[in-house]
Amino acid sequence: MKKPWFHILLVVAREAVHGAEIRRRVDEETAGDVTLYPVTLYRSLDELTERGLIEETPHPAAADYNEKRRYYVITARGREALAAEAHALEAAARMAHAVLKEAR
């Protein structure tokens, strides 16, 4: 899974969010390590939608209601994909720890 996808899925797994907000949260959660530039962000959103991992949703009753904004939320397939990715990362991390322990 591409890195931007993973971080986007993490954000939209919690609630329906619009594009700019996704970028801001990813920036916040990774402490600036991952910057989603505009084209990467929107292309990833398109790609994830095409693959059925996320979907557009009517805007929730938010204070900052803005008709132009598209809100995205994770789908069931998206959750599966995210869980699989999390397992894979966990396995990779476990392996790395084991190797490091051995080396010690």
């Binding site: 700019a20 970028r23 084209v39 929107y42 292309r43 132009k68």
Partner: protein, 907 residues
């Protein structure tokens, strides 16, 4: 901000259109939001990163793998790969790469600076004036049979007529220049240009004062309100130490109290670039600043701000009509040999003020341009040589890549990327150097004619040159390698492939030395001139010696250039002033300074007075010295006596049969009489066209100044004509002279109305000239060393490369018993030979450079001794040979240290 937003939208057009239609607005808004989200601290860097990142992001998705196309990578991604590979290559040969980068960036920045100077001078307004196409000069023009079109200044009627032209001009200002003193009462006094202006001078030309406001637009007519002045930045610095509290203070300009209402911005010297100290005051003050005859006959120049939509051509038509009408009505508008007075309107540029004055500057500008080109050529030749050796070292790598199936164009593209990357990196560094260099230059040289702005054309040109060199010499090995059969290349990596390359490279080094030579010759020549003209230690106890130079308080340049005025003639003023100064407590003695008689002509020692030295025809320069001059200044009389009252004086030099006593320097005495007592020996004029007929009799010998060059033009001192008044005095004091300086200034103001005085201790003068001397010699030495270093690097690269190429040959020679020293000597010899060939080719160019330099120096800076070719050539040849030897010693040493067995086994 807006422009940047548009730029991003333009970039977005590269993306597939459905995607762009769907998200275009959101992406543009997103970038703006990201900009707003940036932290406040290192904003500029963060912003740059954001822009670069966003650009890369678009390009990657437009052309790269991110575009989602299947199979193969887009060219942007592979460009990135090429660039990364190039960086690794550079890292592997970091020393050579860094050297090339350093040379390229320094060379590029120097040429950009020089070209920009040329460009700015031609296209920018004078220093301190913001560029605007609406601010124009109104130039008076007349024609002369001899000089063609010549600038003329305006009289008052003409100025009034132009001022009335509200059709073409929104704002109009005229000004006239005079000279005078500005006295800060406590801060001291300076001699300054006084520019008297009409209208809103600063507003019309768009100059914002550094402090306070400008001058009142319309003089209120109330004399007390008109009594205001705007100080030049230099005066503010000198007299007030840049005290912001200067506004509202009173200064005395030519004795009249004026209130300071503003300070001009740094660098601003008015529109006709007078230089030096300057103040601006309303024209209404002329009656209190200048004597009546001067005030009523001022020479004006004019500038204006055009009304929107009016072109300079349209304004010229109107102005020329007025000029003709006004000048026809005047009884004597022009000097005798001038005719066709008219006027035109041109957009204000630094270079279009006065063609007479600007000819000198144009010469400088052209030499700057040539210098810039030369620097660029040297740089390119040098980098080419380095690139060649770098490329040769990689030939095997390229051949291997081809042999395992890399397509030819892939390798060419790789090398192109490397060249472009090198040029880009160097260009970036060069721009940084230019940025700092400009700030430094503007601070260091306040008298530059225009604000230098980096000319985009100059940047593009130098960058293009660097790129071209990179492509030509970076690509050569690729074309070569791909053209050679793989088998032969692998079998013998040196002979078959390297073939003609060293020859080309050697030619480059020769070219580079030939080009460097004129640079170094010019630098050395100027250095020798500066050293040769510098004198110290002529006077004794200079902290107790005051120099006082009197100047007429105002001059009237322009129509009547030769008319200067003084309220009282010098002959009347001087005796009283001298007596008053002598009466000051602490003053020991007052003498006139030495005056110059100029060239006296050719002289020879009388036959009966010769004493062993060669019979030599001397071209003497004469100076006058008043009785007591040498004792007062502390110049030691080592033999004979000092000049005294009653000696036959300079007035008798023309009389045939007269015998004029002279003092000569010890160097000249030694040269003519070899230790024999020169006192009483005589010199007679020779040749037909002599101005002076009298014999010179040596009355005494004085000590020469330190560091006097042996071939300096010999100087003789003759007694000054007691009837002629010398406006420059030396004052010897009993103790430290500093406290007396302001007292003497006050005396001049009180006793010699119409005269201004420049008063300072000789110690201060010496310190100042020493500082300038040090600065100039340091700058010249630095530039010369840099040029030599450039050459040395090129030589080194070629020699090192040549050693690498000939490792086999050296090994064989060693194996058959050639001693290591002999092999080393061969390489050193080759380096020296290359140097000499370059020198021989560059000689004609240097000759021309030297002649031009001597011409400029003799005309512009009299007092500088000319420098002959032999000295300079000797110095340069020595420098180049030393450089060549130094640059070849290391590679030669390496050649000698090669282990023959090792090389032969490898081969």
């Amino acid at each position: 901000m807006k422009a940047r937003g548009r730029w991003f939208r333009l970039l977005l057009r590269l993306l597939p259109s459905p995607f762009r239609r769907r998200h275009g607005d959101a992406m543009a808004t997103e970038l703006e939001q990201m900009k707003r989200d940036l932290g406040p601290s290192p904003r500029r860097v963060a912003l740059l990163r954001l822009y670069l990142g966003a650009t890369w992001d678009v390009l990657r998705h437009a052309f790269g793998t991110g575009a989602g196309r299947t199979g193969g990578s887009g060219w942007v991604d592979s460009l990135g790969a090429d660039a990364r590979f190039a960086l690794r290559q550079f890292g592997r040969r970091w020393a050579t790469t860094l050297t090339m980068l350093a040379i390229l960036s320094v060379g590029m920045s120097v040429s950009i600076l020089l070209f920009s100077f040329v460009h700015s001078y031609a296209t920018r307004p004078p220093r301190g004036v913001p560029a605007s196409e609406e601010v124009v000069r109104i130039r008076g023009v007349q024609s002369s049979a001899v000089y063609g079109a010549v600038v003329r200044t305006f009289g008052e009627e003409e100025i009034e007529a132009y001022r009335a032209l509200t059709g073409p001009f929104e704002e109009f200002t005229a000004w006239a220049d005079a000279t005078g003193t500005v006295d800060a009462v406590e801060g001291g006094t300076v001699t300054s240009k006084i520019t008297m202006v009409t209208g809103d001078y600063f507003g019309a030309i768009g100059v914002r004062p550094a402090l306070g406001g400008g001058l009142p637009a319309e003089p209120p007519g109330d004399a007390t309100l008109d009594r205001v002045v705007v100080l030049g930045y230099g005066i503010w610095d000198r007299l007030f130490g840049r005290d912001p509290g200067v506004l509202g203070r009173t200064v005395r300009v030519n004795g009249a109290p004026l209130t300071v209402v503003g300070v001009a911005p740094p660098g601003f010297m008015g529109l006709n670039r007078l230089g030096g100290f300057q103040v601006w005051t309303p024209l209404a003050n002329r009656a209190v600043l200048l004597p009546e005859d001067v005030a009523s006959d001022l020479a004006f120049r004019a500038a204006a701000r055009l009304r929107p939509g009016v072109t300079p051509e349209a304004a010229t038509a109107v102005v020329a009509g007025v000029a003709e009408r006004v000048t026809r009505a005047m009884d004597r508008p022009l000097a005798a040999d001038m005719r066709d007075p008219t006027a035109d309107v041109v957009v204000l540029r630094s270079a279009n003020g006065d063609p007479n004055f600007d000819n000198d500057v144009r010469m400088q500008v052209i030499s700057f341009g040539i210098l810039g080109l030369l620097v660029l050529l040297v740089t390119c030749a040098n980098v080419s040589a380095l690139l060649m050796s770098l490329a040769a070292a990689r030939r095997q790598e390229l051949v291997i890549r081809i042999s395992i199936g890399a397509p030819r164009r892939r390798i060419v593209r790789q090398l192109l990327t490397e060249s472009a990357l090198l040029a880009t990196l160097a260009g970036g560094a060069a721009l940084a150097i230019v940025w700092y260099g400009l700030r430094w230059t503007m601070l260091r040289f306040p008298s530059l004619p225009a604000d230098i702005a980096v000319a985009p054309a100059a940047v593009a040109f130098t960058f293009g040159a660097a790129l071209l060199v990179g492509l030509l010499f970076g690509l050569a090995p690729a074309l070569h390698a791909t053209g050679v059969t793989i088998g032969s290349a692998l079998r013998d990596s040196s002979a078959a492939v390297a073939g003609g390359r060293p020859k080309l490279q050697r030619r480059l080094v020769v070219a580079q030395i030939a080009l460097t030579q004129p640079l170094v010759v010019a630098l050395v020549a100027v250095l020798l001139m500066v050293i040769g003209s510098f004198r110290t230690g002529q006077y004794e106890q200079t902290d107790r010696l005051i120099a006082l130079d009197l100047n007429a308080a105002a001059v009237n340049p322009g129509a009547n250039f030769d008319e200067s005025w003084s309220a009282r003639p010098l002959e009347e003023v001087l005796p009283g002033l001298v007596a008053a100064i002598e009466g000051l407590p602490g003053v020991v003695d007052v003498v006139p300074q030495a005056g110059s008689l100029g060239a006296l002509g050719a002289y020879q020692v009388l036959p009966e007075d010769r004493a062993g030295g060669e019979v030599e025809t001397l071209h003497l320069v004469g100076s006058t010295a008043a009785p007591g001059y040498f004792a007062t200044t502390g110049i030691e009389v080592v033999r004979g006596r000092e000049l005294r009252a009653g000696d036959v004086d300079a007035g008798a030099l023309q009389e045939r049969g007269a015998a004029v006593p002279v003092l000569i320097g010890s160097g000249l005495a030694e040269r003519l009489w070899r230790g024999a007592d020169p006192v009483g020996r005589r010199l007679q004029p020779v040749g037909d066209s002599m101005r002076y007929a009298a014999e010179l009799v040596v009355a005494g010998v004085i000590a020469d100044p330190d560091r006097m060059p042996a071939d300096a033009t010999p100087e003789v001192y003759v007694a000054a004509d007691p009837r002629s008044a010398n406006p420059d005095l030396f004052i010897r004091t009993a103790a430290d002279a500093d406290p007396l300086v302001p007292q003497i200034r006050r005396l001049v103001t009180g006793q010699a109305s119409g005269w201004t005085a420049y008063v300072t201790t000789v110690a201060a003068l010496e310190a100042e000239s020493l500082a300038i001397y040090r600065g100039v010699t340091r700058a010249l030495l630095g530039a010369g060393i840099m040029a030599l270093l450039l050459s040395a690097v090129g030589l080194y690269a070629v020699m090192a490369f040549s050693v690498g190429q000939r490792a086999r040959e050296i090994a064989v020679r060693r194996a058959v018993g050639a001693p290591a020293e002999k092999i080393a000597a061969r390489f050193v010899g080759e380096g020296v030979r290359l140097g000499m060939v370059g020198l021989a080719i560059g000689l004609p160019v240097s000759l021309v450079a030297l002649r031009v330099l001597n011409g400029i120096m003799l005309e512009g800076l009299s007092g500088y001794p000319g420098v002959g070719l032999p000295e300079v050539t000797a110095v340069v040849v020595l420098l180049v040979v030393v450089t060549a030897v130094a640059a070849t010693l290391v590679p030669a040493g390496r050649a000698a240290a090669v282990d023959p067995a090792e090389v032969l086994r490898r081969g």
